[in-house]
Structure formats: C-alpha cells, structure tokens
C-alpha cells in the first residue's frame, strides 16, 4: 500500500450560486461553469474590480469596461473601438451577457477564443486594445496595495498570475445575466404586448417573412441566439473572412457568430463591423439588401431579389418586437458596476 498525506492552510472563499431567470431554468440546459473555476463571492468581486481597472492597460487609460460599458449592455457605441494608442480594430465591440450559456464556448465574432478564461488573456496584450503585456501587468498587480490580499481571499494564494486574473474576470462575466426584458415578462404572463409588438414577433417566427428564429432563438430559447456561425449575406466579397480565417476552410468564409438580439436598444451600431447604425438598416438588409456569395446561409431566401421584401408595416412591427427584448434592469444593475 502506498500512502501519502498533506496538510495545508487555505482560505475558503464563499461559493456563489448564479441567480438564473426562471425562463432559463425552464427552457435551457445548465450554464457552463468550469469545474476548475467555480464561482465564489470573492472571485467575482475580484473579477469585477479587474474588469473596471485601467491597471490592465499599457498606459493605464483603458479597462475592459472602456469597450464593454454596462450602460451599453457591456459594448460601446463606436463602430470600431479605440485602443489605448488610438489604433482602431476592424471589429465592433461585443455586448457581454449570458456568456455562460454559450454552450460551445466559442467567443469573439469569429469564434477564435475558446472559453471565457482564454478570451480574457487576449485584450491585455492586443496592440489595438490594451497594448500591455502580462509580465508588466502581473508586476503591477503584485506590488499593488490591495490586489494580493484579494487574490488570497479568492484563490488562496498571494502569488498572482495571468491564469488567476482571467479566472476572476471570467467568474464576474458569468454573473452578467440578462433575462428581464418586457418580452420575458410577457412570457411569464406579467405584461401584455401591443398589437404591433405581437405582429413583429409573428414576423420573426414566420418562415415566409422574417424567419429569424432559426438563428436568433425564440420564446423557447431565451438566449435569442444560436451562438453559431453564419453568413447572413452582408457582402459578396469578404474583406474579413471571419470564421474562415480561423478554420482555414473556404466554406467558412464570411461567417460570423449570430449575436443575441437582446438589448439592441443599447448596442448600436450593429454587425461585426458596426456597419449599420440603426435597426431600420438591419431590417432593410434582411428584407432587400442580401448579397449573394457561395457561403451565404441557405436560410437567406430569395437572395437574387435581395430578400423577402417585407412591407413597411411589417418592418416597423418587427423593430417594435426587437425592442421588447431590451432589459433595463440589466443595464442599471448596480451589482455589475464599480
């Protein structure tokens, strides 16, 4: 028999249970919480502090929240976000909510980041984002008056490294849950829709008109996205290959992740390159602006006529429905803010 034993002194952080909206528990499988990064009160608090702290950027002018602002459902209102050196990327910032329900854990517009923990490594060193490097960031955190204690409380160690920083941020990000819009309340029987909003929902669900539900969720999938990659007909020639640049498969060229259509009231401009400033432009795109290409999704119909040509009443109603998915509780939730 082989026998070993060890004794260790550790601080135990308090386990935290997500407050999951009823519709999510009813309709969806459980959120993804990695076993090696369980949620704790201390871990989440640390992650929040880091998310809003400019210490992560090269010249200490930018935090994650600079491009992921709570009042914009954790995106920003710029077409391309400004990095610390005034360099612009070529992608629109993404809103952050319900990330623990991205079951395939493929993040970014092109799915290049696997898992939230890994994703959080990238912005710090990206030259068009925070343009720092992890060695410097860790040194600064380690010499900080508060951070070492906070890491001790959250992870039982005074030694800070990038793995623990990203674990804390990911814990915080998993608490960003949006599930209390007017439409959610309608589904729970707490409010009613106007006839325009109801008609808009019908268009969204109607295969002959909007046919949006095949990619953007439904009353039975309250994420309002499939978190999958499609070419929704924005271009015939791609300046950004999207998923195709990641997989190397030409059949993936021009494919991007379907965003959730929750919180559109706060997240303009739209699409991976922020090309549309308004929802009218988005709806016109689907109705008559589709561009043919070999990878356009087959769910895009009548492409040679630009789309299904919705009536102006249907367009207005579809927009009214989309706006019922705005969750004001989410953007005003003080728990999520500094």
């Amino acid at each position: 028999m082989n026998c070993s034993s060890k004794e260790e002194e550790i601080y135990t952080p308090i386990p935290y249970n997500l407050e999951i909206p009823t519709l999510f528990t009813d309709k969806l499988i459980a959120p993804i919480i990695p076993t090696n990064n369980p949620l704790t009160v201390e871990g989440i608090a640390l992650g929040k502090k880091l998310f809003f702290d400019t210490i992560l950027s090269g010249d200490e002018t930018q935090s994650c929240a600079s491009c992921h602002n709570p009042t914009n459902a954790f995106t920003d209102d710029a077409q391309f976000s400004n990095g610390i050196d005034g360099d612009f990327g070529t992608r629109n910032s993404m809103p952050l909510f319900n990330l623990a329900w991205n079951f395939d854990e493929r993040f970014a517009w092109d799915g290049k980041e696997f898992s939230l923990e890994n994703q959080a490594l990238e912005p710090v060193s990206n030259p068009t984002e925070m343009n720092s490097d992890w060695k410097t960031v860790i040194e600064k955190l380690q010499n900080h008056t508060e951070y070492p204690t906070l890491f001790l409380q959250a992870f039982g160690t005074l030694t800070i490294d990038s793995t623990l920083v990203t674990k804390a941020i990911a814990q915080y990000e998993r608490t960003l849950i949006s599930g209390n819009s007017k439409f959610d309340q309608f589904l729970l029987g707490e409010t009613t829709l106007t006839s325009e909003e109801q008609n808009g929902f019908d268009i969204f669900m109607d295969e002959a008109r909007g046919d949006c539900f095949h990619c953007h969720g439904s009353n039975n999938n309250p994420l309002w996205t499939d978190n999958a990659f499609h070419n929704n007909g924005l271009d015939s020639n791609f300046s950004d290959l999207g998923l195709g640049a990641i997989t190397g498969d030409p059949a993936d060229n021009g494919k991007f992740k379907s965003p959730s259509i929750r919180n559109l009231a706060f997240t303009a401009p739209y699409m991976h390159d922020g090309r549309f400033a308004t929802l009218e432009e988005v709806i016109n795109h689907y109705s008559e602006g589709l561009q043919p290409s070999s990878t356009i999704d087959p769910l895009m119909k009548k492409v040679n006529q630009g789309g299904v040509n919705l009536s102006s009443k249907d367009k207005a109603d579809l927009k009214a429905f989309l706006l019922t998915l705005s969750d004001f509780d989410f953007i005003n939730n003080t728990d999520f803010k500094e």
């Binding site: 026998c3 309709k27 295969e207 999938n221």
Partner: protein, 251 residues
C-alpha cells in the same frame, strides 16, 4: 472585514494491488453492449461532414445540390426491451451519430425507432437540450420540434445557386389560422430483427437521396424554401422518408 475560515485538509490516498473486475475473467457475460451507428450515403456514396458545402450530389429530378446543414431527430429507439427517448443526429458537426445500449440480451432482438417525434412526445418547449440548439417549431405552427433541418443550395434552371430548407415537422394546414389542422407525419422505422451474439456495432444506413426520390420525385425548383407551413410538402417528405433508412452491417 470578512473573517477567514481556516480549515485543515487531509488527504490519504490508497492504492490496492488487485482491483480486477471479477466478471472480466471468470463469468461469461449474458448481456452485451450494442452501439447503433448511423452512416449516411447518397445512393451508396458515403456522406460525412467533409462532403458538405460542395455541389456534388444530384437529385432524382436532376438538380445538383450542396448540403450545408443536416440534423434530424429519432425517438423511441427500441432494441430488445430497451427504449431510448430521443437522439438528435447532426452530420455537419459529427455529433450523436451513435446510440449506445448496455445490458442487451443476446439473441434475436427487434430494432425500431420513430423518425421525428410522434404527437404524444411532440410537446412544445419541454426538451431543454433541443431548445438549447434551437430545434423548435414556432407556436403559430403548433409548436413542438423539427424532425429534420436539412439546408443547402441547388443549381436552379438558370444554373444559379438557390437555397433550399428541407425542414420536416408535423404537418400543419394553416389555411384557417384560427383552426389549425394537424397530421402526425412522424413515422416508425422498423428495421426488423438483429442477431446479437456479442458486443456489437449495428449500422443504420441512411440514404439521403431517398428524401428526393421515392415515391415523390422532388422538384427543388418548385419546393425549396418555406416548406414548414406547406401541408402537402410535409406529407410528401413523410412518404419519402420511409425508404431512407435500412439495416446495414452488424459487427
């Protein structure tokens, strides 16, 4: 200021020398494990995810097609006296192409399943895993779930790319939206008996070409998109589906 809890962790690991499963060495097993393996072909030419996104198959009616997405549901999968509720097969993502049965009795066993959900099982919104991958049918069409989502492109009469969405659901006649008429277009696939003498892999062959062939020669130029609310198209799909599945090798 929060109080820290100080705890002691002791761990003792034991390793024992012999931990062999007695069944392995001494007793002949009376029950076995059977894996149902769904393989796909186009009139005999194998189809996997790598054959997607390419105009390489021709329908009975003569249209050249490219498959981009193909996932379908089988339910009440029955072998011996065991029943599995349902399984969503996704060829493009190469997921759930196999169904495992354990504790199957050796001997002659019946194998059958339902394509899609029969009405009794097709309740709106109740399957969380299927909701999570957006396999639902809108409530305005009676709710429940897709049986199949088969999306791709075909070359139209001008030799231009056009979309098809061959989506199978429970047929619904929507001519009076206040009074929907349904017809259960799920169907049973009875593969007959299989002889199980040992742990085995039983192949279920799925000939995709049959969806366009028999008894209805499918014309994609006429029936391509918006087929979910098309009552007649749904009945034709159901009829064509009956020759799609057959029993393959048992290994």
């Amino acid at each position: 200021m929060k109080k820290f809890a100080l705890i002691l962790i002791s761990s003792v690991l034991f390793f024992t020398a012999c931990n062999k499963n007695k069944l392995d060495c001494c007793v002949f097993p009376e029950t076995v494990t059977v894996t149902l393996k769904f393989t796909h072909n186009w009139d005999g030419t194998p189809i996997t995810a790598t054959d997607f996104n390419d105009f390489k198959f021709t329908t009975e009616n003569g249209e050249l097609v490219s498959i981009e997405k193909l996932r379908y549901l089988v339910s009440n999968i029955t072998l011996d006296s065991q029943i599995k509720n349902y399984n969503l097969i996704n060829i493009g993502e190469n997921t759930d192409l196999e169904i495992n049965f354990t504790d199957i009795n050796q001997g002659t066993n019946n194998l059958k399943f339902t394509f899609g959900f029969a009405d009794a099982d097709n309740t709106d919104g109740i399957y969380q895993d299927l909701n999570s991958v957006s396999f639902n049918v809108p409530e305005m069409m009676g709710g429940g779930y897709h049986f199949m989502q088969f999306d791709g492109k075909y070359k139209d009469t001008n030799n231009e790319d056009a979309s098809f969405n061959y989506h199978a659901i429970r047929a619904v006649d929507m001519s009076d939206t206040n009074n929907l008429i349904f017809e259960d277009t799920s169907f049973e696939v009875d593969l007959g008996t299989v002889e199980i003498t040992n742990n085995a892999i039983v192949e279920v062959k799925v000939n995709i070409a049959e969806w366009f062939k028999n008894p209805n020669t499918w014309n994609l130029n006429e029936l391509n998109t918006v087929l979910m609310p098309n009552f007649e198209a749904q009945k034709m799909m159901s009829a064509n589906g009956k020759t799609v599945f057959s029993l393959g090798d048992i290994n």
